[in-house]
Amino acid sequence: MATATSTLEAAPRPADATPNRWAVRARHVAIPAVVVAAIVVVGIAIGHDEVPTWLDAHVMPAIDRLYHWTVINNDRNWLFTAVFSNVSDAVKWCTEHMLSVLQILRWPGVLALTGVVGLHTSGLRAALTGMVVLSGCGFLGLWDDTMVTVSLMLVAVLIALLIGIPLGIWAGLSERAEVIMRGFLDTAQVLPVYVYLLPLVVAFGIGDASAVIATVIYAVPPAVRITSLGIRAVPATTIEVGESFGCTNTQLLRKVRLPLARRPILLGVNQVIMMAFAIVVYASLIGTAGLGGEVLTGLQKVDVGRAFAPGLAIVFAAIAIDRVTTGQRSTSSRAGRIWARPPWITALGERPAVVAALGLFALAAVAIIAKATGADHFPSSWSIDVVTPVNDAAGWVGDHFRRGVPIVGGTGSFSDFVVLHLLNPVRDPLQSAAWYVIVAIAVAIGWLAGGLRIATLAAVCFLGLGALRIWDLAMDTLSQVLVAAALSLLIAIPLGIWAARSSVVERLLRPLLDVAQVMPAFVYLVPVIFLFNVGRVPGVVASIIYAVPPGIRLTTLGLRQVPFAPREAATSFGATPRQELLKVQLPLAARSMLLAVNQVIIMVLAVHVVASLIGAGGLGLETVYGLTKKQIGRGMAGGLGIVFLAVFLDRVTQAFGTRSERTD
């Protein structure tokens, strides 16, 4: 035996395991314990039950004064007259011309363009899907509105990519740039649109320009993040190959990094499109035409069906663009073709220029024929009325589910249950505990998750909540976020597991998830209130609808990404599928599951503002004041509160994720 071990390589890491494990553990617990105790002592010494609110006293009034100054001076100061107004004009020019292109093509031409782009990037299947889905907007009788919205979104997406991809490349190449950008990106992604909508209008005027800029603010972060991730994921060996052949940095970027990061960058494009469509309804608040306004009108009239049709059109447009721009060509070919590909298609595939020319020719032909036949508008006789059926369905659900359901009693009593037994028990201790206790707990959690760095961040975030004088509201929001995230995960993880184990389930779920993710929450607010009564529960339900899709997707992805080798090994030892799931897949997917937790929490926070419009209250409502009462400072405080909570929850869950990777 001795001979056997003596020839082994030295273990890469010294054996630190057994003997001093307790010492390590003690260190992990003792230091945070001391810090927590110190915070509590200091807190008691300060002696206030209320949080120190120094920030509130100075910063928010300053923001209000700045806004007021802007309002008064936006027609005199050069910044507005020389810079912002030109930006505004340029953006307007873009959206107008984008719309003209779509209008010249007419509806058959736009459908053909969708098909050509889909064929080119993603194959026949995606092209057909895109065309069918997009034509759905016409069948809803909303073709013209859809084109207005699409032109706006296309411009916003292009600008977001023009900004986001270079920034993402920079962040991918430079650690410092990444660190600096991260704070801005977090804020841009989580800060509710309501906070900056009115300031944008003051700077850039009502209409398309402000709407595009708001969309860009919201859509740039994923472009930067995913591009940076893609650049960083390029293997070091490949970079070395490039360097060894004497590539300059520029050549390295152009010939090695960018081509290899192509897939993630395309994924970034996809995410940017999805994010952009999430802003459509807000854009209509500031005077843009299109589908968003229709949704709001429906909401205003409390007419579910009327809000549903344009909501569905938004979903259709987003899905169509998504499918044709970021097709899953590679995955479908991997799955194996059922039919053999005729040789002429293969031959064409090798001559993309010919295909493009043919496509273009077809496109022009379609547009000309459309013009000649006077097909200016999508035939109204083709439109299908969804308003009545949706209203009937919503009415039926309302009549039958609110009460009298066996066992659970109905959605109304379920709602009461959630308030009394979930929301209140979480909220009340958060609100009634002395502020320093909560800060201390947050710091302790931060410490456990990621040591000093995250602990400091936790302290900053929670003291910030106090300093902004939004403590109670923030605790209310936090309680709702925790409950909604927990319920979302309770739904998402089992479904995600199921989808990972059955591709049929995954395929059935996919369109539902797409719809739930892109459908503006404004559309289903009314039925949700009708079912669950006004209060925090409808907000929780709306959050769940929005947060469950990424939860399911990431769970499925995490399970699928578990390396095959250990799973096969488990099977070879006679593990049943259940044993394989519990003993191999779930533990190995723990890290991506934490990512799912992370994303679910962020999504719940993202929808919190909308939830506040149906009774959730909390910080979300504060941000609405930024628009509706022109109390920009107050809205900003609420928005920053959401950012603080988001950053805290995000970093803590991420830190737990990397920790589990490190030590397990």
Binding site: A15, A17, P587
Partner: protein, 348 residues
């Protein structure tokens, strides 16, 4: 072929693609790979394999990547479902086994060692080794005791509380080996277990297998792409190409009598003296003085020193010690120089 074979495979096929069954045994199965795929969308991974492995035998399947050898070993316990044919483990028909029978075979009778180890990174070594026992629902105490015992056997005693990523590749594969041994199976399957290791470590591990074989006497099916490894370990070697066996025989057989050009190319650079045993090239016993005795199975290279030291022939003896032949400098030199000098021996 002994009727009590540990593993018996008959007419085993694996075809990937739509409606794969139709390809089995049909004329199109003989089409070139690319043409078959273009016409039917199907790929034949393994065709019409017959094999018998005797109890206690080490059967090596050797082939280049894509030859179908990994598919074959996985079909033995239906980690991959064969398209046609039968596999018997002892007296159980694996191919028709129901779920419970299959689990029983995997849990108790056959274990596998994998190329990429397949260890569970979140578990300690001891719990990795105990995994097979755990899925059998063995209680924690007994399975850990057994696991500790096996870890000692593979030379990792006392390291049970480490995690796999704290070990080198060679040590990780020892864990893989220990895990396979822990369930005390009749049969061990090795899927290129050492190909990811450094040459020196690989040699150690091969020695480990040889040693284990002596100590635990299991039937083994060993997949490799490394001819040296195959020759070192195998009682018999099957050379696999394009999904079929092109030759099955003892190491000497394969080296001395390659079945076709393909095998011949393979074994061309193998020093015969490393493979050929004295028994297969010896001359009839001669009386008179001799420079010593060697067992039948001694490789030629191991008698070089003896024949060089003396002009006298060396006696070859069988297991009982009876003289069955003799070998001298000329024979040894002719083996080292190449087969052309002497007619190949009638086989072993």
């Amino acid at each position: 072929m002994a009727p009590e074979a540990a593993i018996s495979v008959r007419g085993l096929w694996k075809v990937y693609g739509p409606r794969a069954e139709r390809i089995v045994g049909s004329a199109s199965a003989d089409l070139p790979r690319a043409e078959l795929e273009a016409r039917t969308g199907c790929v034949v991974a393994m065709r019409d394999i017959d094999m018998e492995v005797a109890p206690g035998e080490v059967f090596v399947v050797m082939g280049l990547s894509g030859s179908g050898k990994s598919t074959l070993v996985r079909c033995l316990t239906r980690l991959i479902e064969p398209t046609a044919g039968t596999v018997r483990i002892g007296d159980t028909d694996v191919t028709t086994a129901d779920r419970d029978q299959l689990l029983d075979i995997r849990r108790h009778r056959v274990s596998m060692v994998f190329q990429h180890f397949g260890l569970l990174p979140h578990r300690t070594l001891i719990d990795n080794v105990a995994f097979g026992l755990e899925v059998q629902h063995a209680d924690k105490k007994s399975r850990r005791a057994k696991a500790e015992q096996v870890l000692v056997l593979v030379g990792l005693g006392g390291l049970g509380m480490r995690k796999p990523d704290q070990l080198s590749g060679g040590m990780q594969q020892r864990v893989g080996l220990a895990r396979a041994l822990a369930t005390d199976p009749e049969i061990l399957l090795f899927d290129e277990p050492f190909s990811a290791l450094d040459p020196l470590i690989r040699r150690d591990m091969q020695d480990e297998v040889i040693r284990l074989r002596r100590e635990v006497n299991k039937t083994m099916v060993f997949i490799t792409h490394d001819l040296t490894e195959a020759l070192r370990l195998g009682d018999r070697i099957a050379i696999m190409r394009d999904g079929r066996f092109v030759q099955v025989g003892t190491p000497e057989d394969v080296v001395a009598n390659p079945a076709d050009e393909y095998v011949a190319n393979f074994v061309r650079d193998v020093p015969r003296s490393h493979v050929v045993a004295v028994g297969s090239v010896m001359m009839p016993p001669v009386s008179g003085d001799h420079a010593g005795t060697v067992p039948l199975t001694t490789k030629i290279r191991d008698v070089v020193a003896q024949v060089a030291a003396s002009p006298l022939p060396v006696h070859v003896v069988d297991a009982e010690g009876a003289v069955v032949g003799s070998i001298d400098r000329v024979t040894v030199l002719s083996v080292i120089a190449g087969a052309d000098l002497i007619p190949a021996a009638p086989g072993g």
